[in-house]
């Protein structure tokens, strides 16, 4: 287990190095190697999660180590699929280090889950968790696209083109990418939440129980719903949309981690260690 974690970490690290080198040298082969290294890391990571699953017989989301590892996995999965679609090369510079960071933090927590509640052995749970995590990956990328957009926009507006101006793609592409990420993330989070409600109804007999995690997820959902609506109706795009997707990601981080530490609730035990 420890070895596999280290191998995965190593590949994430090399991918990060490859993408960073690409940022500076702008050589196609560096981008390619970053991409394939990340793919390899993803394969190792999948094996790691698969192993944990096989060993305990339950979906490995029962302590902070597993949760972080799973979110890193979801981010990488979404990025790899997405990269095929959008060809926004520079995005790897954001995604690879983020996945690496998640893995490093994850590896610092104990691997073994503390205690396991038997209600967590359902297909619905796996479905719910996977979708939510993938949507988090999508929103994380949307936030990345937003950051890159702001950097590039600042370069063009201030007329001080520099390092990033040359290396970043057009504003239009960054904006469209962020939008596509939010659309995908929003769809996933919607289906994920609905599956959560269904599961809650099945386990506890009610769809909604005013659990802090539920409330914050609801806030998150409404936030992105507004963002999408305003974009379609009034044309919230460019700078405003970029800033909103960064704020949205902050809300997401709080929903994901903050709620568990600061507030109580039935999602709490996922982040114990």
């Amino acid at each position: 287990m420890k070895i596999l974690i280290n191998i995965t970490l190593l590949f994430y690290f090399m991918s990060t190095a490859g993408y960073s080198a690409y940022l500076f040298r702008q050589k196609e082969y560096l981008h390619k190697s970053g991409f394939y290294l990340l793919g390899t890391a993803f394969v190792c990571h999948t094996a790691l999660i698969g192993w944990a699953y096989a060993k305990s017989g339950i979906f490995p989301i029962h302590n902070l180590h597993q949760i972080l590892s799973m979110s890193g996995w979801a981010l990488t999965a979404f990025f790899l699929a997405f990269q095929q679609q959008f060809r926004l090369k520079v995005m790897g510079v954001y995604a690879a280090p983020l996945a690496l960071f998640l893995m490093i933090v994850s590896a610092r927590f104990p691997v073994e889950p503390v205690q396991i509640n038997s209600t967590f052995r359902s297909f619905w749970l796996i479905f719910h968790v996977t979708l939510i995590f993938l949507s988090y990956g999508a929103f994380a990328l949307a936030c990345g696209a937003g950051i890159l957009y702001l950097v590039q926009e600042n370069a063009i507006k201030s007329k001080k083109r520099g390092f990033f101006y040359r290396r970043l793609p057009s504003l239009e592409l960054l904006d469209n990418t962020g939008y596509a990420c939010i659309i995908t993330g929003f769809t996933m989070v919607t289906v994920g939440l609905v599956s959560g409600f269904v599961y809650a109804k099945w386990i506890w007999g009610k769809f909604w129980s005013w659990d802090p995690k539920e409330v914050w997820s609801g806030i998150l959902w409404v936030f992105y719903a507004i963002l999408l609506h305003e974009r379609l109706a009034v044309g919230w795009r460019g700078r405003k949309s970029a800033i909103m997707s960064i704020i949205g990601f902050a809300v997401l981080l709080f929903t994901f981690i903050g709620v568990n530490f600061l507030l109580k609730g039935h999602h709490g035990e996922f982040t114990q260690w």
């Binding site: 007329k159 083109r161 793609p169 057009s170 919230w236 460019g238």
Partner: protein, 471 residues
């Protein structure tokens, strides 16, 4: 001199008369052709050809002199055969642009060739030799090769990295081919030149960055819009630079073009030129709702577009980006507009700033280009030095021996493994004798016992037939 075309003719003749189509006949034909076409004294064939470059450019000659010496297409057409008429010159290519004149020659006698080229220029351009001699540079050998590579890669251009020079060079070469004044050496040299220039362009960023106002505007447009295809353009006023920018945009397949002019008739005429639509000056405010790129170049003393006007259209536009290019002095577009969301305003000074930055980048990339060129010069020299009798014969012999050795090793190891050591030696001797016999006639031929005229051609063919040059 027999060029490729002549060889092809011979080959065709043979093809049409199959009964004559044996090797002997072919060589007889060639010989006959040679003798009748050859302008060389027999011993010229023995001499080694040298590449000579003579020229002047924007650094060495002022514009008056360049104008005077520059060759028009017709003049170059006449000049090429005239240069070649000199017995010392076997091949010639002439490049003449507004910034430079370059005469590339393959010669057997450098001094004589230079003298006769100078005399020709003096005669045809009505100048005395001392009048232009000081502005001339003359390179030979590696230096000449390097110079040509650098010119084609646009390292020697007034604007480093400008792309036109390569096209002009290709045109010059095409003319030499038409006039049959380019032979083995210059063919090879120019093909290498185009290859090197292309390599420099793809492997360094020398041509990446825009260095003219209209290119800079387009580069920025692409950073904002990504693809310019289908973007609508509004041109306000007229002016050479603005029209040039619109033409560039059209090449990037922009969508509708609106033209607004104080005098509507003038606007109509320009709209026709760009296949666009003329609008009245008062309609500019409405046009902003549709247009994505606005190029302004009027003589108006104050701003013709204010922040309020633009702010109004942002909502109906659903915040799609707007890019203003203000080429006018004094400025037409309120710079405050740049502070609005999703709108970008660049005036002429901003664009000039982009150009200056890009120029610096180009010079940095030029250093990397020089390395590629140095490498190519060495490669060319290797080929060129091989293009001599002795290395070619040595190469031939080595190649045959390599084949013989490996076959012998195979046979002696397997089907002939029963042979004794001495028998093996006998086979080896037989091989050796065979190679010597096979090579006897080609060696004699190449040593000029049947090879008149352009020896480089036969050496080159030999090297190609037996693939003596690794590519």
């Amino acid at each position: 001199m027999v060029g490729r075309a002549a060889l092809a003719e011979i080959a065709e003749e043979v093809y049409e008369h199959p009964e004559e189509g044996n090797i002997y006949q072919l060589s007889q034909n060639m010989k006959a052709n040679h003798v009748s076409h050859s302008r060389f004294l027999p011993e010229c064939g023995l001499m080694r050809q040298e590449i000579v470059l003579m020229g002047l450019n924007h650094k060495t000659a002022n514009v008056e002199l360049r104008e005077c010496i520059g060759f028009s297409a017709d003049e170059a057409d006449a000049a090429l055969p005239a240069f070649q008429k000199d017995p010392a010159v076997s091949e010639a290519v002439l490049l003449s642009t507004c910034n430079r004149v370059e005469l590339i020659l393959a010669v057997s006698d450098t001094e004589k060739a230079i003298l006769s080229a100078k005399n020709y220029i003096s005669r045809s351009k009505n100048l005395t030799v001392p009048e232009f001699e000081k502005s001339l540079y003359i390179h030979t050998g590696d230096d000449a090769v390097r110079h040509i590579f650098r010119v084609a890669a646009s390292l020697d251009s007034m604007v480093v990295g400008e792309p036109q020079i390569l096209g002009q060079m290709k045109e010059a070469y095409r003319m030499a081919i038409r006039k049959k004044t380019s032979g083995v050496i210059l063919n090879r040299l120019l093909h290498k030149t185009f290859f090197v220039a292309k390599r420099v362009r793809t492997e360094t960023g020398i041509g990446d960055h825009a260095v003219s106002i209209s290119y800079a505007a387009i580069e920025l447009g692409r950073k904002i819009f990504g693809d310019l295809e289908g973007r609508k353009v509004l041109l306000i006023g007229a002016g050479e630079m603005a029209e040039l920018a619109v033409e560039h945009l059209i090449r990037h397949r922009v969508g509708d073009i609106f033209v607004a002019n104080r005098t509507f008739e003038r606007g109509l005429a320009m709209a026709r030129q760009f296949h666009g639509k003329a609008i009245r000056f008062e309609e500019i405010g409405d046009a902003l709702t549709h247009a994505d790129i606005i190029i302004s170049s009027t003589g108006a003393p104050g701003f013709i577009l204010t922040r309020e006007q633009v702010k109004k259209v942002l909502r109906p536009r659903k915040n799609r980006p707007l890019f203003f290019i203000d080429i006018a002095v004094p400025r037409d577009i309120d710079p405050d507009i740049n502070r609005l969301a999703n709108t970008y305003v660049y005036d002429i000074d901003d664009l000039q700033g982009v150009i200056e930055e890009n120029k610096e980048d180009r010079h940095r990339e030029a250093m990397r280009a020089e390395r590629i060129i140095d490498e190519a010069v060495i490669r060319f020299r290797e080929w060129y030095e091989g293009l001599d009798v002795v290395p070619t014969i040595v190469g031939l012999r080595e190649k045959l021996w390599r084949i013989a050795e490996s076959e012998m090793k195979k046979s002696l190891g397997h089907s002939l493994s029963h042979l004794s050591e001495e028998d093996g030696q006998a086979v080896r001797r037989m091989m050796n004798a065979m190679i010597n016999k096979v090579l006897h006639d080609p060696t004699l031929f190449l040593k000029n016992k049947g090879c008149y005229g352009d020896k480089a051609l036969y050496l080159d063919i030999t090297r190609k037939l037996f693939r003596l040059d690794e590519e």
